[in-house]
Amino acid sequence: MISRDEFINKIEALPAFSQTSIKLSAILRKPDFSLSEFEETISFDPSLTANLLRLANSSYFGIPRKINTIKLAINLLGAKRVFEAAIANELGRILPDMLVGYGISSREFWKHCAAVAIISSNIARIHKITAGEMIFTAGLLHDLGKLVVSTYLEQNSTQFQDLLDEKMTEIQVEQKILGTDHQEIGYLISKKWKLPQDICEANRWHHNPSKTEDPGLKDFVGIIHVADSLAHTLGLGTDDAELMRSIDPVVTEWLGIKTPELEKIASESLDDILELTEIFEEIRR
């Protein structure tokens, strides 16, 4: 069993999110939110600016004209989309080449995060979940804990594979080997990075959304759970363990989601997911 202190130390050692993206999320949430403050904050970060312009011109965002300034990007895409691109850039930047413990490359891991971001946005839109402002971002960042947990699974890989063969779920296996799981570690990481509360909660309970304590966030975390489960069902960035999971039974009831709707969402999300996957190379350049 690994001690809590050791995990905390490991979290400290992660390449952190830049202050810029955290500041952007705070600006976006202000009631008197100012576009010029938003633009200025990005401009102070030259590497983010350069990457954002590359991303804004990718086919994922689908703007036919050349975007050469952040101001124009904000005008054409809106501040929220620019923020989402900033977070995507941050995530892409900090991933190791391979999450060995989970048997998955960073590109596949990225594809999964992209899939959850896009599928959860589509579910939130269809179900008119108004608290869904940050849902794309929460989808991108729901598995932060895996960045740390992977290393420990790598050190216990035989046991990890054996327990999965014994039909334990991924979360049960992590708990058994490590005394914690990637949800709890993800929560600690997102807290440390001062990410918004809904993103922290999505990290904490995306395998068991009915445990979310804040009633205002149950739908939000529930949608991330459904999107995560659907993405893995379809094999979009699935690692060695993620199919060994359970659907939280209350969630499909809450949201009233049935199989035909899942299939429709899958069909309508796929192109965007594949395009968002492609920008990974742009970010890693």
């Binding site: 379809l234 199919l243 060994m244 659907i247 499909t252 899942l262 899958a266 594949l274």
Partner: protein, 159 residues
């Protein structure tokens, strides 16, 4: 050897013995693998969903997304590339599921049911298959030999 990747919602056909058709991460999606050992023609589809009525618009743009619009195209192109119905073998892989999926998420089972129905209606039989369970699979067809392998979590089987 020349690896050709079959993306999700896509299909590929080849009559070049140097080619290897390969598709990754079949969760609930299904790969149908055709091979003619005499003419050395092979084909593979990686479809995602059972029925195109889910989204007729997407079915127009990407027919291989759905079993009912994609699988007929695979057969058509397989014959065009010189494959013959008499020699053809059909193998199937994928249709996996979550460990406990509450029924709602069992798209793999629906994919498999529809596929079987389509093949049966047209008088085709499946030679061998590796379907179901909480498994993500990689499927590979070597054109030169007709060898089909399925890989899942490190272990590989021949189909």
């Amino acid at each position: 050897m020349n690896n050709i990747t079959v993306q999700i919602a896509d299909y590929k056909v080849s009559n070049n013995p140097d080619d290897v058709l390969i598709t990754y991460a079949l969760g609930s999606c299904i790969a149908v693998i055709l091979y003619d050992p005499v003419n050395k023609v092979g084909g593979m589809i990686h479809f995602m969903l059972p029925l195109s009525k889910t989204s007729p618009e997407k079915a127009d743009q990407k027919p291989a997304m759905f079993a009912d619009t994609g699988v007929p195209l695979l057969f058509e192109d397989f014959y065009k590339a010189g494959g013959s119905k008499v020699n053809m073998t059909i193998r199937v892989a994928g249709g996996g599921k979550l460990y406990e999926d509450n029924g709602t998420f069992d798209i793999g089972k629906r994919n498999y049911t529809i596929l079987r129905k389509m093949l049966w209606k047209n008088g085709y039989a499946i030679l061998s298959e590796d379907v179901g369970d909480a498994k993500s699979r990689t499927a590979k067809l070597e054109l030169a030999t007709g060898r089909v392998t399925i890989k899942s979590r490190g272990s590989e089987i021949e189909l």
